[in-house]
Amino acid sequence: MKITILTIFPEFFESPLRQSLLKKAIDSGVLEVELIDIRKYSTNKHNTVDDTPFGGGGGMVMKIEPLYDALSTALYESDTQNRRIVLTSAAGRKYDHATAVKYSLFDHLIVVCGRYKGVDERISRFFDLDEISIGDYIINGGETAALVILESVFRLLPGSIHKIESALSDSFSDELLGAPVWTRPAEFLGQRVPDVLVEGDHARQERFRRWCALKRTVENRPDLLWRAQLSDEDRGMLESIAAGREFEN
């Protein structure tokens, strides 16, 4: 698979592309990454790639000419039709795993790193673009988002991740968050591991873990509770958690 990244900061990607699994994927030929410096396609002598928006308003807008030329070059040099162009944009559709899976099936992914307030809207008249946002927060530019897309896509490519000898249980979890865990030492700077875990009563430990899992789920992911399989004992625990009591039993 080939991933082309169009950016005004190609050096941003130097270090990540040299690290661990990404490097391995590139070295082994599973992945080819091409960086295109949009600034090289600037048409004026100051190499500017941005300008003020028509109609006023704050911020700068990425100009269309350099981006158009850079994208045209990327497409001209693309040797497959099985490709997709992605524009990172705060206004885009939310990126998720399913999208990563979809992108990993293309032979060529072209990612345009948006910058500034946005990209001249007319770019979408010339190219079929997926506008993608990695989340509802502001980052300096699309480079970080492009890296997220790059990493999530490449690890789905065959050969880039090894099969490892890890196992999972065939009795499946019941949709609660896992209970917190502790390890030695039993006391650290005055903080002790819960007594129940140090004493040898395994049935009680089991109830304690269940209590903790329920409490954590209530606190962090209450949405998981509605589909969890709860016993009468669980319901009792939930009531006492809701009443603010500590684990007793």
């Binding site: 661990s20 391995k24 998720d96 795993h97 399913a98 899976v101 789905l156 090894h162 099969k163 490892i164 000898e165 890890s166 196992a167 999972l168 249980s169 065939d170 009795s171 499946f172 979890s173 019941d174 949709e175 609660l176 968050l177 896992g178 789920t217 992911r221 998981l224 589909r227 399989q229």
Partner: protein
């Protein structure tokens, strides 16, 4: 399939001057290194090397392999995997599956409808998500009230088709 390699460790550093390798275990069964006789190194081409010694070192392992005798030898292998073949995998405790075996299994509804194949396991805090690709692709929560049966021999997972499940894209 029998020559398929499964990684059990990754070489991250050289240790000392005699070619010892610092290895991060990539297995849920770290004790398996105690009586490991040989491993396969994959690059540049797969070859089997006898294990001379294994000792624990913090959360990692120090492993000496035949023909790797100097620090230079050891450094040349940084980043590589120590692997075994399928026949050499540890015997699984009852009630467990290898993650990589789940990948590729077929998913069917209780009524026998073919829903696709599992392509990936994504570990999540509440329960794992199994990515299923088929006529429709969806994210299957590997949870007790959805997964009814895993048939290892037939490589089929039977699920309860809860309303809205196929919409978990």
């Amino acid at each position: 399939m029998d020559q398929e390699l499964i990684a059990i460790g990754k070489i991250v550093r050289a240790h000392g001057i005699n070619g010892e390798l610092v290895v991060i275990p990539l297995t849920d069964f770290v004790d398996r290194f105690d009586d490991l006789e040989s491993v396969v190194l994959e690059a540049p081409q797969p070859r089997r090397l006898a294990v001379r010694s294994v000792r624990a070192h913090k959360q990692q392992l120090l492993i000496a392999l035949e023909t790797i005798d100097t620090r230079n030898d050891a450094e040349a292998h940084i980043g590589e995997f120590l692997s075994v073949t399928r026949a050499e995998l540890v015997e699984l405790p009852e009630g467990t599956l290898f993650q990589f075996d789940v990948v590729g299994m077929e998913v069917r509804s209780e009524d026998g409808e073919d829903l696709g194949k599992i392509v990936e396991i994504i570990e999540m805090p509440a329960n794992d998500i199994w990515r299923v690709e088929g006529r429709r692709s969806f994210n299957l929560p590997a949870s007790g009230n959805i997964i009814l049966k895993v048939d290892r021999t037939a490589r089929v997972v039977t699920i309860r088709l809860l309303e809205g499940l196929l919409d978990l894209q």
